[in-house]
C-alpha cells in the first residue's frame, strides 16, 4: 500500500468517526432539548394568583398581607364576570321555556369553563376536591382554558370525516346580557389572573397534592433514591465479592466458565422478567414483606444489575497487572491481604465505572418495580417504612402520569418535570461517581 492510499484511508476513517460523533451529538440534542425545555417548565413558569393562593393555603408560603391585597385587586377585576352571569341568569328566568332550555345548556358550559379558569364561584360552597378549589395556577394553562371559555368546540362532519371547529360563544349569545362577558374576559384576563414569573424549585421537595394536580414530586424522587441506593447496597458488595471469588479464589475450570456464561446471559434477560421473578420469589415465595415494598423492589433491581457489576469488576480485577500480585505474594502477603491491599485498590476505578453504569440503570428501570415496589400515589416514606411499604418512583410514575392519570393533559408539566428530574438524578449520580473515580485514579498515580 503506498503512502497516498494509506493517507486516504486514515483520512476517510477519521471523517467517518467525526460524522458518527456528530450524529450522536445531534441525536442527544434532539432528545434532550425538549426534555430540558419542557421539563424546566415545572420549575420556572408564570404563576397566577391562584398559584400563590394555593401555596399559602397548603404550605403557608408567601406574605399573607400582600396576598390579601392582590386577591382584592383580582376580585375587583373578576367581579363584572360574576355580575354579568347573575344578570343573565335573571334574564334567563324570564324567558319562555323553549328558549330557556337552549340557553341553559350553553350557560352551564360557560359556567363550568369559567370555574375551571378562575376557580369556584365566590358564593359557592368550597368544593370537596382540591383541584376544584383553585383556578388555573399556571399562566400557560390559563391561556388554554381561556380559549375554552371563549370558544365552543364542535365537530364538523360535512367533509365526511369529523373536523374540530371552534365556534365563538359570543355569537351564540348575541343579543343577551351575557354577550359582553366574552370580550371582557379576553381583555381583562391579565388582571383577573395576575401572572407573574415564578421559580418553583420546591417542585423537587414538595409532595404532590390531589394526585399531582398541585405540588411536587418528592415522594417519587425519594422512592427512586431509596430504590437505587437499596439496590446498590445489595448488588455492590455481592457483585464485588463474587468477582473477587471468580478471579482470585475459584479454581478456573469448566464450572467457572459455565457460571460466567450464565452471568453474561443474565445481563441480557429482559427487565420485565426480573420484575416477574421479583414478584414470584421475593413477594410470593420468601415474603420479604406483606405487600409490595421498597425492599422487594431494591432486591429485584439488585438482581438486575448484579451481572453488570460482576462482569465490570471481573474485568477490572483481571486488568490489574499480575506483577502487583506477585510482588505482594513475594513479600509474604496471603491471598486475602493481596486482594485487599493491592488488587482492589488498583481495580477500584474500573469497579466504580461498573457501579456507575448500573446505578443509572437501577434508577431508570420501570419494569422490575411495577410488580414489586411501585405505586401510583403515595406519601414520601420514612427510612423505617421502606421494609414494608411500597413507594412511588419516578420511572413508574412517569409512565403512569402519561397514560393512566385521569387528567393527562392538565399535568404535562409534571410529567416533563419528572422526566427532567429523573435524568438529572441519573446525571448527578454519574457525575458524582465520575468525580470519585477521578479522585481514586489520581490517588493511585501520586
Amino acid at each position: 500500500m503506498d503512502l497516498r492510499t494509506r493517507k486516504l484511508l486514515d483520512k476517510s476513517f477519521s471523517a467517518l468517526g467525526v460524522i458518527a460523533i456528530l450524529f450522536m451529538a445531534l441525536f442527544l440534542v434532539v432528545i434532550l432539548a425538549p426534555i430540558i425545555a419542557k421539563g424546566s417548565g415545572a420549575f420556572i413558569f408564570r404563576g397566577t394568583v391562584e398559584y400563590r393562593k394555593l401555596m399559602f393555603d397548603i404550605w403557608n408560603r408567601g406574605d399573607e398581607k400582600a396576598l390579601a391585597e392582590e386577591m382584592q385587586i383580582v376580585a375587583k377585576a373578576r367581579k363584572p364576570v360574576y355580575e354579568m352571569m347573575d344578570d343573565f341568569r335573571r334574564e334567563l328566568a324570564a324567558m319562555p321555556s323553549s328558549e330557556r332550555r337552549k340557553y341553559r345548556r350553553a350557560l352551564n358550559d360557560v359556567e363550568k369553563n369559567i370555574e375551571n379558569l378562575l376557580g369556584p364561584n365566590p358564593d359557592d360552597r368550597e368544593p370537596v376536591l382540591m383541584r376544584q378549589r383553585y383556578g388555573q395556577t399556571r399562566w400557560d394553562m390559563a391561556r388554554k382554558h381561556l380559549k375554552d371559555v371563549l370558544y365552543a368546540t364542535e365537530w364538523d362532519y360535512s367533509g365526511g370525516m369529523g373536523v374540530k371547529v371552534y365556534v365563538p360563544r359570543q355569537d351564540f349569545f348575541t343579543g343577551t346580557s351575557i354577550e359582553e362577558l366574552f370580550p371582557y374576559i379576553e381583555e381583562n384576563i391579565d388582571a383577573m389572573m395576575a401572572p407573574r414569573l415564578t421559580l418553583y424549585l420546591r417542585f423537587l421537595t414538595d409532595d404532590s397534592r390531589d394526585s399531582h394536580f398541585f405540588g411536587g414530586i418528592w415522594p417519587e424522587l425519594l422512592g427512586t433514591i431509596y430504590l437505587t441506593l437499596g439496590a446498590m447496597l445489595f448488588a455492590v458488595p455481592m457483585g464485588v465479592i463474587a468477582a473477587i471469588y471468580f478471579c482470585e479464589y475459584a479454581k478456573q475450570g469448566l464450572v467457572i466458565s459455565y457460571l460466567r456464561i450464565c452471568i453474561t446471559t443474565l445481563a441480557g434477560v429482559p427487565s420485565i422478567v426480573f420484575g416477574l421473578f421479583g414478584l414470584a420469589f421475593f413477594l410470593n415465595t420468601i415474603r420479604v414483606s406483606e405487600s409490595k415494598s421498597v425492599l422487594a423492589g431494591s432486591l429485584t433491581l439488585a438482581l438486575l444489575i448484579l451481572p453488570t457489576i460482576i462482569r465490570a469488576s471481573e474485568e477490572a480485577i483481571m486488568a490489574v497487572p499480575s506483577t502487583y500480585k506477585e510482588a505482594a505474594l513475594s513479600l509474604g502477603a496471603g491471598k486475602w491481604r493481596t486482594v485487599m491491599t493491592v488488587i482492589l485498590p488498583a481495580a477500584l476505578p474500573g469497579i466504580l465505572t461498573g457501579i456507575v453504569i448500573s446505578m443509572g440503570r437501577a434508577a431508570g428501570e420501570t419494569a422490575p418495580i411495577i410488580f414489586t415496589a411501585a405505586v401510583s400515589v403515595g406519601k414520601a416514606l420514612n427510612l423505617d417504612e421502606v421494609f414494608t411499604n411500597p413507594s412511588p418512583a419516578l420511572p413508574w410514575n412517569i409512565y403512569n402520569l402519561c397514560t393512566e392519570h385521569e387528567a393527562v393533559d392538565q399535568i404535562r408539566h409534571v410529567q416533563f418535570g419528572m422526566v427532567f428530574s429523573l435524568i438529572a438524578v441519573v446525571l448527578f449520580l454519574n457525575i458524582t461517581a465520575i468525580v470519585v473515580r477521578a479522585r481514586v485514579q489520581k490517588n493511585l498515580r501520586n
Binding site: 478456573q252 497487572p321 506483577t323 502487583y324 500480585k325 506477585e326 510482588a327 505482594a328 505474594l329 513475594s330 513479600l331 509474604g332 502477603a333 496471603g334 491481604r337 491491599t341 493491592v342 485498590p345 488498583a346 493511585l444 498515580r445 501520586n446
Partner: protein, 271 residues
Amino acid sequence: MDNDTQKSLITVNTDAASENPDSILNTEEFSIFYGDFEAVRKVSCSFFKHHVTAIIGPSGCGKSTLLRGMNRMNDLIPGCRADGKMIFDNANIYDRTIDVVQLRKRIGMVFQKPNVFPKSIFDNVCYGPRLHGIRKRSQLEEIVERSLNQAAIWDEVKDRLHTNAIGLSGGQQQRLCIARALAITPEIILMDEPTSALDPKSTTKIEDLIGELQKEYTIVIVTHNMQQAARISHFTVFMYEGDMIEFGKTQKLFTKPEKKETEDYITGRFG
C-alpha cells in the same frame, strides 16, 4: 572468536568463596512440571550462606522456574507442581505443614521487571513490615530509612518519600523493589535478572549493592550477562534445557569448566 580471547574478556570474582561455606538451601532431585512438561529436571545443588550464587543458561532452560521454585512463587501458576526436595531450615519447603507466608518472609524475591505498587515510596517499603504486624510509625520510618539506604536509593528519594513510586525511573524502581524486599529482612534474596531492563549505570549500582548485601544476606541471582555472573557471584549453576549441567565455584566454572556444554555456553557458542 576463539576461547582464549573470550575468557580474557571475563573478569572473575576475585573475592573468592570461603573454603567451607554453610549451605542454607539444598535441592535434592528437585523437579518442576508445567502440566506434563518438566521444566526443571532433578536438580541437586546447594546455596551457601552469605554467598552469591548465579544461575546461568540459555533462554528457556528453566532458570526462572527454578528460582521461583525456591519460595514457591510457582504455586500461583495453575497446573504447576514440584517434585523432589527443597530443604530450607531442615524442612522441605514443599511440605504440607509449611506456611508459605512465613517462608516468603524468609526468602524474598526481586523480579526481572520492577514491580512497584502504585503507592507512595514509603508505603511500598512498608508493605512487607506492615503485613507482618509492624504498626508503629517510628519503627516503620526506621525500617524505611535502613532499607532504602541498603538499596542505595535513600539519597535520591528521601525528599519525596510520600510521592507515588510510579514516578521513579526504571533503575530507581528496581532499587526500590530491592529495598522493599530487604524491609522484611529475609535470609535469602532471589533475584531474577534484576538488571536486564537497566542502563549500565544503574546496573553498576545494583551490582555494587549485591556486593554489599552478601555480607548479611544470601543471594541467588539469575542472569544472562556472563560478565555480571563472573563479577559478582561466588558460585554458579549452569542449566541447559531443564537439567543442571554444572555447579561449582564461579572461578573454576568460568576458567576450567568440566562439561563441554558449559564451555560452549560461556564462550558464546550457543545460547
